[in-house]
Symmetry: D3
């Protein structure tokens, strides 16, 4: 019965990759905690690059800095 | 003073339907817990179909399967 | 297939009141958007008073101010 | 190591303003709690106007009412 | 740089099981989308049973019903 | 009208520090985007140490590793 929210930057993840995330995390919860996959909900949010910050700056700038 | 986040798949909900959700859930919190409607915040997120998973698969596939 | 997160301050909501919220919001989504109640998930978060802010101050102070 | 989610209505915030929010909230967490800015994550969600409710109505209507 | 929020009912998950979830979902994001594990954040929320609803009722009641 | 959710590990933040976070982030949104402080909501979540992961491991282990 878990709810999982995966938030990533919007950088072209395909529907196949999203389906793989959904399948993988649902299986992980079943294997680790015995959670029922039938009622496991997974929601993926793709966030615009300029809306994601880390290290006190937008992620694009953070990556350029070489961190 | 509650905050309510309603997450649904993006399938053409109209502004009128969203207004109805906002009105309905605000009233529910007032009737059930006496919460002040003036400071009740409701945010609706519409999620792309391929970003929503249930039963270990994307929701479109889940529905076709007849569940 | 919606997911609803209701966040309120922790002030003694009973299990009966929570059940009423769950029932009410699930029905609202069914009546307004035709959402399947069987797969509607509702999660209620009770937040400590000193962790909830509005108007730039903790909610207890905000209420005393008479707003 | 904090995670901060800032949700605002979509009304034309620029990338510069978003960068200012990211910088400001990261610094605030460092100054107030000593949190490491390097691992502070900030995500800004811009929400469509008709998806944001307050006072039991969509925010556009709420503002017109003069509240 | 992803952020993952896993929400489960509070039913005695151990620290070892939580560590397994953290490890597993971080690896999944690396394998599927090439995400950097160093900056992947995972937060697990354990929710009280009477705060979790599915099928229009608290989860304990839902399970008894045999669904 | 913004909603801000600050998630930190539970490590003894005081009510005064939380009030400072609430005041600071509300002011930041007013200064940067002209947001009305009266309707800005801030919710702080304190998360148990073993429920927070980074770098594929619980945060306590991550810190010991010297990252």
């Amino acid at each position: 019965m878990p709810y999982v929210n995966i938030r990533i930057t919007r950088e072209g993840a395909t529907s196949e990759q999203k389906a793989e995330l959904i399948r993988g995390v649902t299986r992980l919860l079943q294997d680790t905690l015995g959670k029922n996959p039938e009622t496991t909900v997974v929601v993926i949010d793709e966030v615009e690059m300029d809306c994601w910050g880390i290290g006190g700056m937008p992620v694009a700038e953070f990556r350029q800095r070489g961190s």
